[in-house]
């Protein structure tokens, strides 16, 4: 154990923690932009600067030492942070009201904390160097006028997904996040997992057609056998979005393209809404009672005439345990073990 003095308060800390870790554990806010708890640290945005034992360091990278004295509120610290945030804003699209990330934007939050005002901004020159948009991906878009080159997407793609479809390209103020040849993301190795969109601190990466949910429900993904935890965003009686459940031990919040963007089928107009019965060769809507009466009648008829083994059932690898249990119970009840499912496919 070590003790770190932050702004005059002694805070207990473990060796190996960073100044940011310790500050957060003590409930002290330090603004960050390029930092993300899931990823390796970068140290590029320079807005988490603090003074540690008198020297200016990035809180996200500086390891603590026993007896370290940290100040997060000196004039020097405020000056550096404020200038750096202002510099980021000078080449950032400033139309917050129409941005999908409005009120959910890390940069907005940091600006508010640093007290960035229009007066201060007006001293500076506006230099938006990159205004392109990449709308090639059906699920999300990339808006470079809002990119602050924090590299969170780059690190996400390499460290979370392992694809590294994007990297920093060019240098200096021309630095951009790019696929090979600066091609649209859809033409790259991108797997559309959306992990970068999830972590982008600004509106540079946003889901297309975003709908803000009114409530959220935790559940499990209905696709492959990995069994990732999902948090469904719901508005009215519609599922409008999905995010990974960070508390789920299987996926720890990570998802693939299907898990994250493949929910549209739930509200699809093709969904079956009533029982259908084949009449004169065509399937026609009917009542539950009629449909179930028909089925139970057939079951009785075949059992009586040909024995229960004339019945067979295919249960489902996509239904719940409870559904499956009742299905096999029903068939075995009827006297047959002709139950199987597509486990082999």
């Amino acid at each position: 154990m070590a003790t770190v003095n932050i702004n005059g308060i002694d805070v207990k800390a473990r060796e190996g923690m960073t100044v940011l870790d310790v500050a957060q554990s003590a409930g002290i806010y330090i603004p960050t932009l390029c930092y993300h708890p899931d990823l390796s640290t970068f140290g590029g945005c320079r807005v988490c600067m603090v003074e540690a034992d008198g020297s200016a360091v990035t809180a996200c990278r500086a390891p603590i030492k026993d007896g370290m004295v940290v100040r997060t509120d000196t004039e020097r610290v405020n000056q550096m942070r404020r200038v750096n945030v202002e510099l980021i804003m000078t080449n950032h699209d400033q139309d917050c009201q129409t941005c999908a990330k409005n009120n959910n934007c890390k940069l907005q939050e940091v600006c508010a904390f640093e007290g960035i005002t229009p007066e201060r901004m007006s001293r500076l020159r506006r230099v938006i160097t990159n205004k392109e948009q990449d709308t090639s991906n059906p699920a999300f878009k990339r808006d470079f006028a809002k990119c602050i080159t924090c590299g969170i997407c780059v690190r996400t793609c390499e460290e979370i997904n392992g694809v590294a479809a994007i990297d920093f390209a060019f240098r200096g103020y021309k630095t951009t996040i790019s696929t090979i040849g600066n091609k649209p993301i859809l033409e790259s190795k991108c797997e559309s997992c959306g992990e970068c969109v999830e972590r982008c601190p600004t509106g540079a990466l946003v889901v297309k057609n975003q709908v803000v949910p009114e409530r959220e429900v935790r559940t499990i993904c209905s696709y492959c056998g990995v069994g990732c935890g999902l948090v469904l965003g719901v508005r009215g009686n519609r599922v409008v979005g999905v995010r990974g459940d960070r508390q789920n031990p299987v996926n720890q919040g990570h998802l693939c393209v299907k898990g994250r963007y493949g929910f549209g089928f739930i509200n699809h107009p093709d969904r079956l809404k009533a029982p259908l019965v084949k009449k004169n060769g065509t399937l026609t809507e009917t009542s539950w009672d009629e449909a179930l009466t028909l089925i139970s009648g057939k079951i009785k008829e075949f059992t009586d005439k040909h024995g229960p083994n004339s019945l067979a059932g295919l249960t489902s690898a996509r239904c719940t345990n409870e559904d499956n249990y009742l299905f096999q119970k029903l068939f075995r009840f009827l006297g047959t073990n002709n139950i199987d499912h597509c486990a082999r496919l």
Binding site: C45, T149, K174
Partner: protein
């Protein structure tokens, strides 16, 4: 046996001035006079005096001819080599007295110099290892192979040598750290990624004396327990790369590189890595990352020192070309010899690329502690054209500008830093009264903006912001408060940037504001460029009294902006004028009718009804 040896400089400067043609022509003439067995031609490395190239020295007499051309060869061979008459017109003329100087040692440019790093440059054939060996080459290595690592390190420590790459960190201490760390593998890296605009000493050493660098690397390797080195050299220096590769091959052939060197059991391998054009790779962590095949982005603090975990996380000793090249002499001559040169705190010499508005320019090496004024006025021969000295910029884009009041400064690492500039990699640009200090600051900032790696906000966006402000100021769009804003930004950029590039990028701006704030104010408040440089703030106007209507300006104006009848005073149409200054340059001195005006004078002229 040869009677005479002729050294023709084959540095990049002289080659571009026609040194190879000179050699060809000389060979022909020698044959004509059947002297080819009597006179030996040596292509040497750079002499430093590139401005006067091609340089041509005849030994044993030490006659220094400069600015020779292929056409001069028949006369030179006939008159001098055959008849023994010195060809006076090809000798160096003192810019002040106008007198001819025969020996280069008597040329002021050379007289004040103390050449250690450049000892062999221009003296030997860099492509011939024997010439290096004759001048005690590799004897430092031989000696060090008999020495204990501790002894070598102590010698370097006691010599007081400080890294000549810019920061001036004590070399011996760095070696000691690298030596003490235990590891199965260590590397020595020679930083030859010289990228400062206005500096070319590393290039000259690699081109003129590559073996000294190899020898230095080997001694360093022996001292710290490393068996492999990398030389990271700019690909923009093809000649340096070629000569270095040749030197490695020769040293290997002689058993001076490779396995079991000189039966000492010491193995050493040298790899050459060509940099691909990124100034920031001169920064140690970026250089290491670049060798590893990545984007050369410096590693943010906290991180281990390169000496502890550098190339592939192995201990890596990183030294500059100049530092390494002087090591063999220190081993040979002892620590005291080196410590006897320079000042108390800074031993040895400093190498500068003296350029800009001086009569003589080129590569110079001077003992630490020499007065700044002495370099400019004696070695550099003062300011040409009777213009007034304004400032000297040292340290390239990381450095600053020092005004006349600082000419008394005894130059070394520390004094330059205290004065708001730095040694850097040794660029020294002399500026006269026709240089606009805001424009100079803008120039350097433009360089850092282009060379910023882009990973951290202050350097990526901050330098760009400062540049935009300077652009506005130079274009007459400066706003009240811009100087304060530049100071605020500069301070914050220095404080919060990741690496040395960002931390020093504002220096040219801050130092010019410090010493020439009035020029900034003049641009902002009075819309005046006192040095008559900033295009938006000046106009060209023809003095109706002085103009004789010779028509030179009118005929040569690319914009067709000048009108006027023959023998009648001409007029410039300000709408059309692009301010290219051709008229200004062409107007004969005896008339000097084209005037350059700024600020209030423009207003006055406008009020005066257009002329």
């Amino acid at each position: 046996m040869y009677d005479k040896q002729i050294l023709i400089c084959a540095g990049t400067g002289c080659i571009s001035s026609g040194a190879l043609d000179v050699k060809g022509s000389l060979e022909k003439e020698l044959e004509k006079h059947n002297l080819q067995d009597k006179v030996r031609i040596i292509l040497s490395g750079c002499h430093g005096f590139c401005e006067k190239g091609p340089i041509f020295i005849v030994y044993p007499e030490d006659i220094f001819y400069c600015g020779v051309t292929a056409e001069d060869m028949p006369e030179l061979v006939e008159e001098y080599l055959v008849k023994g008459n010195i060809v006076d017109r090809l000798l160096y003329k003192d810019p002040i007295t106008g007198e001819s100087v025969t020996s280069h040692e008597n040329i002021p440019f050379y007289r004040q110099q103390k050449r250690l790093v450049l000892r062999n440059c221009g003296v030997i054939d860099p492509e011939n290892i024997d010439e290096y060996i004759i001048r005690d080459g590799y004897s430092g290595l031989k000696k060090s192979l008999q020495m204990d690592p501790k002894e070598i390190i102590d010698t370097v420590k006691n010599s007081g040598l400080r890294g000549l790459g810019g920061a001036g960190f004590p070399t011996g201490r760095k070696w000691e750290t690298a030596y003490k760390i235990e590891s199965d593998k260590k590397y020595v890296v020679c930083n030859a990624d010289e990228g400062d605009p206005g500096a070319f000493m590393d290039r000259s050493v690699l081109e003129g004396d590559p073996h000294s660098v190899l020898e230095g690397l080997m001694i360093a390797g022996k001292a710290i327990g490393s068996d492999e080195a990398y030389v990271y050299v700019r690909a923009e220096y093809p000649l340096a790369v070629r000569r270095l590769r040749k030197a490695i091959a020769q040293a290997e052939e002689y058993g001076l590189l490779g396995e079991n060197i000189l039966n000492s059991g010491f193995n050493f391998k040298v790899n050459v890595k060509e940099g691909a054009g990124a100034f920031v790779c001169g920064e140690s962590t970026a250089l290491v990352i670049s060798i590893e095949g990545k984007r050369g982005m410096p590693k943010p603090l906290p991180r281990p020192r390169t000496t502890e975990a550098g190339l592939w996380d192995k201990p890596t000793l990183l030294n500059n070309v100049k530092t390494l090249s002087v090591i063999p002499q220190i081993i040979n001559n002892g620590a005291d010899w080196f410590a006897g040169i320079g000042t108390e705190k800074c031993k040895g010499t400093a190498v500068f690329a003296l350029t800009g508005k001086t009569n003589c320019s080129g590569l110079i090496e001077v003992p630490m502690g020499i007065k700044l004024g002495k370099i400019i006025h004696e070695i550099g021969g003062g300011i040409p054209g009777g213009k007034k000295f304004k400032a000297v910029q040292t340290g390239g884009p990381s450095g600053g500008c020092l005004p006349e009041s600082k000419l008394d400064l005894a130059v070394d690492f520390d004094t330059l830093l205290q004065a708001g500039s730095m040694m850097g990699s040794g660029g020294m640009v002399v500026l006269d009264e026709t240089t606009c200090m805001v424009d100079v600051a803008r120039y350097f900032l433009n360089f850092t903006v282009e060379e910023s790696c882009g990973q951290c906000t202050p350097c990526r966006s901050g330098t760009l912001q400062m540049l935009e402000i300077l652009n506005d100021i130079c274009e007459g769009n400066g706003r009240e408060g811009d100087v304060e804003l530049l100071l605020e930004l500069g301070k914050s950029i220095i404080d919060s940037s990741i690496c040395g590039l960002g931390k020093s990028a504002p220096n040219p701006v801050l130092s010019t504001i410090d010493y020439f704030r009035d020029e900034y104010e003049a641009h902002i408040k009075d819309k005046t460029c006192p040095a008559l440089v900033c295009k938006n703030l000046i106009i060209y106007d023809i003095d109706q009294e002085a103009c004789t209507g010779c028509g030179r300006c009118r005929k040569n104006c690319p914009a067709g902006a000048i009108a006027g009848d023959k023998k009648e005073p001409h007029v410039i149409d300000q709408e059309k004028c692009t301010k290219c200054a051709i008229c200004y340059d062409l107007c004969p001195d005896r008339f000097s009718a084209v005037k350059c005006l700024t600020g209030e004078k423009i207003t006055a002229m406008a009020k005066g009804g257009g002329n």
